[in-house]
């Protein structure tokens, strides 16, 4: 391991409602792969965004290559040799792969962009990383995995001194993961420092040298990967927070009535012939890689996306669901993975967000009965322990967890029996996370049934009674909780058929 190339000291960052980073320290050496771990919302990504100048830090110092630096935008960071492979893909769908890779630093021939050369360079780059992608292909035509690879290739092509990988493997199949690891080892040899953000314990041992853990926006500690155990890390990550024990067996009787039955559902290329049953009082886990078609399945079920074929039965009788309206009438509620975009009405307040699903219930004549509305909302704020200054608070000012609870509220207000939770704990802090888990368990006790889509295996194993694994739009397997394990799920998730 070479000498230290990067030191971050006492980094502090606050967003309205959340204290994202609380006096965080971090250091990185040349030729080191330094894993950064922590639950969602622990502040890993935020820290990296501060490093690369996407966010401006409130306090703290960054020493890079011996000099104190303060990047005001990603470009400066890039030029200094710090690049980040974002968890969310930053692709320009209308441009070709090569054009994406060299965006912002095109090869010029006079005033003309030299696309030919860019294609050649890109091809050479892919060859070096032995990835098989056509540089002249439109970015939007690639699979999520390939797009991810392009992102990585782009980062590497910057001739960087530090590369940040933010959950790079989330979308990759096993073979692609191995390719990636090859690349990373190769980079190590070149003395490049690598910060590797991940959730997958097994990867730590595989390629990282050290692992630093964050929790609730604070730095917890650093371990040497090879002489630390999984549990050490987990303990650091989870800390004092108590989770329910991982389920050992399902409490749902085999013969529990089927509330939702989907048969041969087809919708686009990400939902191919999906069939399953949801029992009363059951939490049905949907696992799989990013882009495996879980969300698409959910959207097809609630009629948000048009389905080509397939039958849906609610409580045994066949129903026609063509729009979310129909779905809600059948008592199916959907909590989207992307809160901001599909869940929240940012400019409106808590009460309005909570009652939107069931306004009919709050009418006095033609007018809205604000009193009733407020009481109802109050009640849920109470029971769900939503932290908000008041019901007339704009929802945009709440923290992720509380926003999620408000969204949950609107389905409880509507009193739906079937709830589809899409990544219910994405990007919310640990405390709120366990609250959500408790809620889910209470809900099923009340006899509601839940479909939980989640990319976090621990979450799946902790909550589900049954697990359905999807791969490339197909249901690649179904596991009873008793038999389920991370390995089995990963295997099914990357199963080709």
């Amino acid at each position: 391991m070479g000498e230290i190339i990067l030191t971050m000291k006492g980094i502090d960052k606050t967003f309205p409602g959340v204290h994202a980073l609380d006096n965080v320290d971090f250091e990185l050496c040349r030729g080191e792969v330094h894993a950064l771990m922590g639950e969602n919302g622990a502040g890993k990504s935020t820290l990296m965004k501060v490093l690369t100048g996407i966010y401006k830090k409130d306090k703290g110092t960054i020493i890079y290559d011996g000099k104190t630096v303060e990047f005001t935008n990603p470009r400066e960071a890039q030029q200094a040799g710090i690049v980040i492979v974002h968890q969310e893909l930053n692709m320009l769908g209308h441009l070709t792969v090569a054009q994406n890779i060299f965006i912002g630093r095109e090869f010029m021939k006079g005033i003309r962009i030299d696309d030919e050369r860019m294609n050649v360079e890109a091809a050479r780059l892919f060859k070096r990383l032995n990835i098989n992608i056509d540089p002249t292909e439109k970015m939007s035509n690639l699979t999520v995995g390939k797009q991810q690879m392009c992102e990585i290739a782009k980062a590497i092509s910057h001739e960087a001194k530090i590369i940040v990988f933010d959950e790079p493997t989330a979308a990759l199949t096993e073979s692609e993961v191995n390719e990636l690891f090859e690349i990373i080892r190769d980079l190590k040899k070149k003395d490049i420092g690598i910060i590797y953000i991940t959730h997958r314990m097994d990867e730590i041992k595989l390629i990282t040298d050290r692992v630093s853990v964050m929790r609730d926006g604070a730095y917890v500690g650093t371990l040497i990967s090879k002489d630390s155990t999984k549990n050490d890390i987990v303990n650091m990550m989870v800390g004092r927070v108590i989770y329910e024990e991982p389920k050992t067996e399902s409490k749902v009787a085999e013969d529990a009535p089927v509330v939702l039955k989907v048969e041969g559902l087809n919708a686009g290329k990400l939902v191919r012939d999906v069939s399953f049953e949801l029992h009363k009082g059951e939490i049905l886990g949907f696992s799989g890689l990013m882009g495996a078609g879980r969300t698409e399945t959910a959207k097809a079920i609630i009629g948000a996306d048009p389905k080509e074929s397939g039958d849906i039965y609610v409580n045994g009788k066949k129903v026609e669901i063509n729009t979310p309206e129909d779905a809600v009438k059948c008592g199916i509620g959907y909590l989207s993975e992307d809160r901001k975009r599909y869940g929240l009405m940012l400019q409106r307040n808590v009460a309005e967000n909570s009652t939107i699903t069931f306004l009919e219930n709050f009418m006095k004549g033609i007018f809205i009965d604000n009193k009733k509305e407020n009481n109802e909302t109050e009640k849920y704020i109470e029971s769900l322990a939503i932290k908000t200054p008041g019901i007339d608070q704009l929802i945009i000012n709440l923290s992720g967890g509380n926003q999620q609870k408000v969204i949950l509220t609107k389905w409880l207000v509507r009193n739906c029996d079937i709830l589809i939770f899409d990544e219910p704990t994405r990007g919310i802090d640990v405390g709120a996370k366990s609250d959500i888990y408790k809620l889910m368990n209470e809900l099923v006790k009340e006899g509601k049934s839940i479909i939980m889509i989640s990319s976090e295996l621990p979450e799946i194993l902790r909550m589900s009674d049954r697990i359905i694994v999807m791969c490339e739009g197909r249901k690649s397997g179904e596991l009873r909780i008793e038999e389920a394990s991370q390995e089995k799920i990963m295997h099914l998730a990357t199963l080709r058929n």
Partner: protein, 327 residues
């Protein structure tokens, strides 16, 4: 400053409204000082002539903008309604009341067409209204053989509709129009803030997908917004002719801009989800006082256009930064 902003009353009315109102006052004072006998009841009355039809247009488009759309056809639609119904009155001798209704209906029809295309065919609202604008112009002049239509005078038979803006009692005028406009504004405010419809409109303006996934028939409600807008344009038509009697085909675009300007000035954000009827009302007042004052100090309408433009830019910019702060 901060304390003022936080005081409950201010919060209730909205800081920007108050500022806007002060601007209005300041403007009036300015003209009172610089324009020859500007401070007179008649001045206000004639300024209001302009405010009435503009007011209805603005109120209407506020609903559309609240849903995050835009209606760029209200001006020509207003003209079209006025012309066609006027033609029915003068050439086919329909009873006046029927013509007034038909004017509103015509507006409503255009609104419906507009709304249908936007909501159900998901054509960008800008383009639809652009096309509707052309169509309404064309229809109007086809219908009237490209000639202008003059509604009857107060003194002539069927002239009573002109009392809708001001009625003479003794030798003073009562601004009936103002009363009507205010009532409409209040109704609009109630609809927007207190009824299911208003709630849905604002919500889907704020996040259409979310409302849709919440099981609301967004298409229907979005369409309704445009229908309201069209209908109000139809009413605006009545007040336009009540003020100016004559309308000719092929015009009316300039009123789009002023109506939208008035609405946006009042703090309704183009992003949708935030709308203020009160603000719109003040915005319209500002524009009408401005255009009266500009004339009074011996300049012509062009200056009004430029100044309005500047005011809008500043208003919107303030809106933008305030929102940036919140995110």
């Amino acid at each position: 400053m901060y304390r003022i902003r936080q005081s409950p009353l201010v919060k209730k009315i909205g800081f920007n409204r108050i500022v806007l109102f002060l601007v209005l006052l300041a403007m009036y004072c300015f003209f009172a000082v610089f324009a020859k006998n500007f401070v007179s009841y008649n001045r206000l009355l004639s300024a209001m002539n302009y405010a009435y039809f503009l007011g209805f247009l603005s109120l209407g488009v506020t609903f559309v903008i609240a849903t995050g759309g835009i209606d760029f056809s209200i001006g020509p639609v207003m003209f079209c309604a006025a012309i066609m119904s006027g033609y029915l009155l003068t050439h086919y001798h329909w009873p006046l009341w029927l013509c007034l209704i038909s004017s509103v209906v015509i507006g409503m029809l255009y609104g419906t067409l507009n709304g249908y295309l936007v909501a159900y065919k998901s054509v960008p609202s800008f383009i639809t209204s652009m096309a509707i604008m052309q169509i309404s112009k064309g229809v109007a002049s086809v219908f009237t053989k490209a000639q202008s239509v003059s509604w009857p005078q107060l003194v002539q038979e069927n002239g009573w509709y002109r009392n809708l803006i001001k009625t003479r009692v003794g030798n003073t005028y009562i601004p009936v129009g103002m009363i009507i406009l205010l009532t409409t504004a209040i109704i609009c405010a109630i609809v927007l803030n207190k009824t299911k419809m208003g709630r849905y409109l604002l919500s889907l303006g704020s996040n259409k997908e979310a409302v849709w996934l919440s099981g609301v028939n967004v298409k229907k409600w979005e369409m309704i917004a445009y229908i309201i807008c069209g209908t109000l344009a139809g009413i605006a038509a009545i007040f336009f002719v009540a003020a100016y009697t004559t309308v000719q085909p092929g015009y009316g675009d300039q009123y789009n801009n002023e109506a939208i300007a008035g609405c946006v000035m009042g703090g309704t954000s183009m992003g949708g989800g935030l709308a203020s009827i009160g603000g719109t009302f003040i915005g319209v007042m500002i524009i009408s006082i401005l255009q009266e004052g500009i004339l009074a100090i011996g300049l012509n309408k062009n200056y009004q256009l430029v100044i309005t433009g500047i005011i809008v830019i500043v208003a919107v910019y303030l809106d933008v930064i305030s929102r940036q702060k919140r995110n």
